[in-house]
């Protein structure tokens, strides 16, 4: 029951993220000389265990335009994400982590 | 307009068929296939703003300008057949290249 609630709470959050990231991409596309934070591929340790969980996380990361899941390590513990604007390693990881944490509320 | 497209597709397809490079044969065939299918489509007489050839629940409610359905079916058949043949041709090219080691058709006399 709680899971369902968290799921429902998650949707608006996610939609918001989406709008936000679309704005980011718009800015990036239209920026004259790409003077934004540089992109990068960041390894993110993930805690979700179930296939569905990982899959959902991966998909959600990808569907938000600033980030893109590139690859998953063999042991399913590390996700490599390409970020369009990686100001620094830690803040980027934290951003993704917060998404994962919200997922963890209703997925394993 | 579409006739020009057909003409161009034919021309390019033939140009590819006349190359010596083995792989271009398949490209030529694909072009010719598209050209021929478009030809069927175009020559059958296109209706401007033709509706998809789907009928409403009753025959009375049929919209007046359905596009000609028969050529569509013909093209469908032709596409599928071409696909089978192309798949075979592709494998054939692959095998021929393996067996002969050639990529120049002129050396496959």
């Amino acid at each position: 029951m709680m899971k369902l609630f968290h799921f429902c709470m998650f949707i608006p959050y996610y939609l918001l993220m989406m709008v936000k990231s679309n704005w980011i991409i718009t800015k990036a596309v239209l920026s004259w000389n790409f003077d934004f934070d540089p992109p990068g591929i960041v390894a993110i340790p993930i805690e979700l265990k179930s296939n569905v969980g990982i899959l959902t996380l991966v998909n959600l990361i990808t569907m938000t335009p600033g980030t893109l899941s590139l690859d998953l390590s063999e042991d399913k513990k590390t996700l490599y994400v390409h970020g369009m604007h990686v100001k620094d390693h830690e803040s980027f990881v934290a951003e993704i982590k917060s998404l994962e944490n919200r997922l963890k509320l209703f997925l394993k | 307009m579409l006739s020009i497209v057909i003409g161009v597709l034919y021309a390019v397809g033939i140009f590819f068929l006349l190359r010596r490079s083995m792989v271009r044969i398949i490209l030529g065939v694909l072009f010719l296939g598209n050209a021929t299918n478009l030809l069927i489509f175009v020559t059958a007489g296109l209706k401007a703003n033709g509706q998809p050839s789907f009928l409403a629940k009753t025959a009375e409610a049929t919209k007046p300008a359905l596009s000609d359905s028969l050529p569509q079916a013909l093209i469908l058949t032709a596409i599928v057949i071409s696909f089978g043949v192309v798949a075979y041709l592709l494998t054939l090219l692959r095998k021929t290249h393996e067996v002969t080691g050639e990529s120049d058709l002129d050396r496959l006399k």
């Binding site: 296939n51 690859d71 998953l72 390590s73 063999e74 | 998809p52 469908l76 798949a87």
Partner: protein
Amino acid sequence: MNTTLLQLAARAIRIMMLVISVFVLLRGHNQPGGGFIGGLLAGGGIVIYVIAFHTHQLLSKTLRAMAPLRVIGLVLALGSGVLGMVLGKSFLHAQWFNLNIPLLGTLHMGTPLLFDIGVYLAVTGVMVMVILLLMEDRKWN
């Protein structure tokens, strides 16, 4: 290629594509779709699955499974034609039945559907076989 991600999704995608393909097949008589399109979709699902997990065993297992599918497809298509000949006036003469299925109500069924199922199976079989044969050839030859 590291396919862990793909593997995670493959099973779901296969099921989804198979279901949709059957859906596309069944309503093809009235909506866009039909045996050929459905067959290609189903084939696509299977191919994605094999791509995700591709091992030699899976490949040859799928190949073995697909070979009879083509034949069954042909049998069904031919069978619907012969049925038309036996029950109706001519080869492929469409025969329609009203099937009364409890719960679902009356279902309007006909030999053209059988024919389309035949097409579906044959196309699935052929498509998967062709792609897998080429995959196999590429990988192990």
